[in-house]
Symmetry: C2
Subunit: 377 residues, 2 copies
């Protein structure tokens, strides 16, 4: 095998410079040697998730980005606003590899039997640095894909599927019986919709455009509310009354949407009698994304039994433990082309990911727009 593997490879890196810019380029790095329990994956597909963008772009103003270098080896430079620069202080001068997840073929392994068993197999992996020709990871971060599954189909086997499953698991652990999801027409949202249908979990999908509502309804969604409609509050309250959903996962973060959801949950759960402290039903919103980076505004007209907080996949997985995670992973592998299928609007090479038109497109985080990096292209 070793003869096929080059000594060096390209790896996409992001650097915050002291003069308040972020620079993105393809670095020449050595192809690593797998340790005893590691495998070397030839990366064939890696998605650009919203959760990759923070590290990649560092909050830069991509509309002011410029590109130098060659087509094969572009160097992107974009200015950082003051607030982004303050937040990135700890990153200045330390370039970082990127790509939370991806899939490819195992081309070399360490000596451990579990590693050797994967040689030649198509695997998905999580653990960062997947925007590269090769990535060396411990077998425990690998998911062997069912025979016949392509790397493209397996590229998004971790972040979105485990997030959707994590939302349902959180719902059950915190004793809710239904869910609300915002940015519900995203890849993740469509996945959650399929998952909730298959588990008979009432789900209220909140979208921003009529065509997104149509998309979800065509996929079987019963409750879809358009957050830009003048009837939002009435629509959402009606859906919450029908579903008794008291837990929301919000990808938007900024603005009033989280507050509006709590207000409607309160209206849906309040009894007819006046209670000065509102309903005793606990209403919870977890913010797991930040499509709107502005402040979250809470009007607090939803009684006292409410909570809002951050929700992040990795600590959640740590909290539920290895056995529970293994169970979730097996389910993902089994339903990768059905419940947990992803779709991509564009596929680009490593260099293509740094083209300005691609960069500005995926930085916009428009719902339904999703890029897949294919290092072999």
């Amino acid at each position: 095998m070793a003869a096929e593997i080059p000594a060096t490879m390209l790896q996409l890196r992001s650097l915050v410079t002291p003069d308040q810019t972020v620079q993105l380029w393809l670095d020449d790095v050595d192809v690593p040697e797998p340790g005893p329990t590691e495998v070397l994956i030839r990366v064939e597909a890696a998605p650009i998730n919203p959760s990759d963008l923070g590290l990649l772009l560092a909050g830069a103003d991509v509309t002011a980005a410029t590109v130098s270098g060659t087509d094969d080896r572009p160097v992107v430079t974009a200015p950082l606003p003051d607030a982004a620069m303050r937040a990135m202080a700890a990153r200045v001068g330390t370039s970082m590899p990127l790509g939370n997840e991806g899939a490819g073929t195992v081309v070399a392994t360490g000596s451990a039997p579990a590693a050797q068993a994967l040689l030649g197999k198509t695997v998905a992996a999580a653990g960062g640095a997947m925007y590269a020709h090769y990535r060396c990871v411990d077998v425990m971060f690998c998911l062997e894909l069912p025979a016949g599954t392509s790397a493209v189909d397996g590229a998004s086997s971790f972040v979105n599927p485990l997030t959707a499953l994590g939302m349902v698991e959180t719902m059950r652990r915190e004793s809710h019986i239904g869910l609300v999801h915002t940015a519900a027409a995203s890849n993740l949202g469509q996945m959650l919709n399929r998952l909730c249908i298959s588990e008979h979990i009432p789900l209220v999908n909140v979208v921003r455009r009529p065509e997104q509502a149509d998309l979800l309804r065509a996929a079987g969604a019963v409750h879809v509310c358009n957050s830009t409609a003048p009837t939002l509050m009435a629509d959402l309250t009606a859906a919450l009354k029908e579903t008794s959903a008291t837990l929301a996962f919000d990808a938007v973060g900024g603005g009033r949407l989280a507050s509006q959801i709590l207000t409607c949950m309160e209206a849906a759960s309040a009894g007819a009698d006046y209670s000065r402290y509102g309903s005793t039903v606990h209403k919870q919103v977890y913010i797991y994304g930040s499509l709107d980076r502005g402040p979250t505004e809470l009007t607090r007209n939803f009684g006292m039994a409410w909570g809002i907080g951050g929700w992040l996949l990795t600590p959640f997985l740590q909290q539920i433990g290895l056995d529970a995670v293994a169970r979730l992973r097996s389910r993902v592998a089994a339903e990768l082309t059905t419940t947990f299928a992803s779709t991509y609007t564009d596929q680009v090479s490593l260099a293509g990911a740094l083209a300005l038109d691609a960069l500005t497109a995926y930085a916009r985080q428009a719902t339904g727009q999703k890029y897949l990096i294919r290092p072999g292209l």
Copy 2:
């Protein structure tokens, strides 16, 4: 005993009218007869707590209040803003008695031995409708005061003491090791300061004026930050670093204070290395009051391990159970004139509580301003 007890009495009531006003007056009502397990208390002292004001004033604009009737039997009328009227829809046309807690002498009892044992005793009670000459309550809502304790000293035996103890109990149950408290110079704040000193719990007091800081420091507070000082963020971060306090109780609610506390907690807990999701230390703010009724604004520049929510005494006590509550109550009784002592800026009769100058004073909820109703005056 019965000969001393009149057939009727005065009781303060609040009514939201269909024409968008709140009316407050002293109603003539029958003095109730105690059931088997009840006692009849001659109310001698009842505080006006912030938690009473929502029910009393219904969000009215007290600066536009007018008074009619006589000095002995005033009738206050105040207009309700549209938003308050919407929130009070379920209250329209149903007049409500007031007064969450108070103390007085047991002048009649039911047949149960536990009730009879309290005859002639000075007791504190919680359960509403204490702004009246008499109040009939079940013995389980009574706290017998230690011999020699006056009704004035025992008037605030429930709301503030149990809230202070509840904050400490919540801190322990949720695995934090220090507290932050806003509006820290209030009666409750001073109580919490004494409680934390006696329990060796690090407490960061946040106040709005230098003289409030002086008051708390004179009472032994180590960490006091002035939220109006230009150095707030640096002061608060330094205090949070010293205390490792990751749980705050916020009486203010509106504005940016809760967000600023989370930002400083994050700065105090963050390591030197860059982590895109921030510190893994969970940071929590509970909003238990609403001194600022405006929206809560969260900048979300404090990582993903954070939560904010409502905190209310009664559900908390239900959650910890009767045995735990009994333990807390005994402690309150034992330390009523020390740890849990309250001070009042003015004492008024039932009619005096409806005088416009008193009404506008206590409606302002200025820290350190606290009224005590003494129905016997």
